[in-house]
Subunit: 225 residues, 2 copies
DNA sequence: ACACAGAAACTTGTATACAAGTTATTTATG
DNA sequence: CATAAATAACTTGTATACAAGTTTCTGTGT
């Protein structure tokens, strides 16, 4: 588990939740790892209570499994969950981007333009971690343009499963293609071309689908079944 | 707040979560009501810890608002949330019922048949509460047939907002129409008629849309804005 | 060396005590 | 009586103590 600095504003609970979640997504807490409320509390410098609440929340998202009186474990990557997360992402992202075609204001377009421009910039400077963050931001901006902010928060939770696979795939998937997809999505929103948006979302997602088999072969110990 | 019996098997936390959630959905805890961890703990006969964890979870679903050091309140019905819940329900239910057309086994069909038969039975005996439960079960069975059980759990959370409106509408919406919709959905799944499924889901949802205006007029104090 | 019993060291679940902050009440003062 | 300050009674956030159960280690007897 890697250290993550506590922000002065956030509560102990929010800090614990953020720290544990980031460690799970980054795979610094590997799937299958046993975790202890006491151990993490000591590591983060807070008491068991906020750590416990954070773990409860993550167990509800099914990325931590709690066995009462026995211990808690970082869940193995479950192909069923990943598949359902992909289904949700495809279904919802398409519906939302179509809505964004109807509702996006010029201010929304401007924010998307700035985001994609930054992605294209960092693509040249090879800053993969920056692109990762901008990727999240890009999709959040689309949900915002479609007035579906609440759904984006919910989407984030179930996407944790998908995100772990994405972390593993960062080395193999070409950022060039991802940023190119985003550029084309933005242009299609500007043109209010829903059919093209739908096609782009499906193509975008298929990029991750292709290399899951490779990833699973490379890290079999991380997967369930 | 109405009393709900604690099941001998469930933990204090699960009991508190179930009791509070049912009271919110049934509107025995009215929107806007102030709630206290201590008060509920005393009422349920458990300590603050499990009650607090339950409230935290419900605040994440945005049906409870926590103001640190000030108090917690049952959230008013927020039209934005209700609209997003409706959007999610429509989008996801359509995608899932289409998937069910492809994947439903005979066993799935049999379970759906039994469920709808019971709905039609209780429709004649005027048992609205039974139909309410069977309605939930019906949609859960469809998600199960489409192998999307995880998404159904997630759907349930965001649907809390929608469910409160549904509780208010139970007196006005005709159960006859709901059960009729379900019967037609089942027949369309059997015929693998996706286009008809899509149309039926949209019509089904529109029934709730129609009377939201009436409900809002009848209970303005429950609504935000 | 092996088997078994028992204690010790863990786990999470729950209850309670305290901390920090807000609100309402009460009391003193003009 | 009105007003303001002090205070008491609340709230949630956090830490800690204890309860109940599981696992692991350890020592002892064979």
């Amino acid at each position: 588990m890697k250290e993550i600095a506590k922000l002065p504003t956030e509560t102990a609970r929010d800090y614990a939740l953020r720290a544990i979640r980031e460690n799970i997504v980054s795979l610094d807490l590997e799937p299958g790892t046993g975790i202890s409320e006491n151990e993490i509390a000591g590591f983060l410098g807070v008491s068991r209570t906020p750590v416990r609440e954070a773990i409860q929340e993550l167990s509800k998202a099914a990325v931590i499994e709690i066995y009462p009186q026995r211990g808690s474990y970082v869940a193995l990557i479950d192909s069923t969950f990943v598949e359902e997360a992909r289904f949700l992402r495809k279904t919802l992202d398409i519906a939302v981007i179509e809505e964004a075609c109807d509702l996006a204001t010029q201010a929304d377009i401007d924010r998307l333009e700035e985001n994609v421009a930054l992605q294209e910039f960092y693509l040249q400077t090879q800053a993969a971690d920056k692109i990762y963050l901008l990727d999240d931001e890009f999709h959040k901006l689309i949900y915002s343009a479609a007035k579906k902010e609440t759904l984006h928060a919910m989407r984030s939770n179930i996407m944790l499963h998908f995100d772990r696979v994405r972390t593993l795939s960062m080395k193999t998937v070409k950022d060039t293609k991802i940023v190119g997809d985003h550029r084309q999505m933005l242009e299609s929103i500007k043109n209010k071309d829903k059919e093209n948006c739908r096609m782009l979302v499906e193509k975008h997602l298929s990029r991750y689908h292709i290399d899951e088999a490779e990833i699973r072969a490379a890290y079999p110990q991380y997967f369930k079944d």
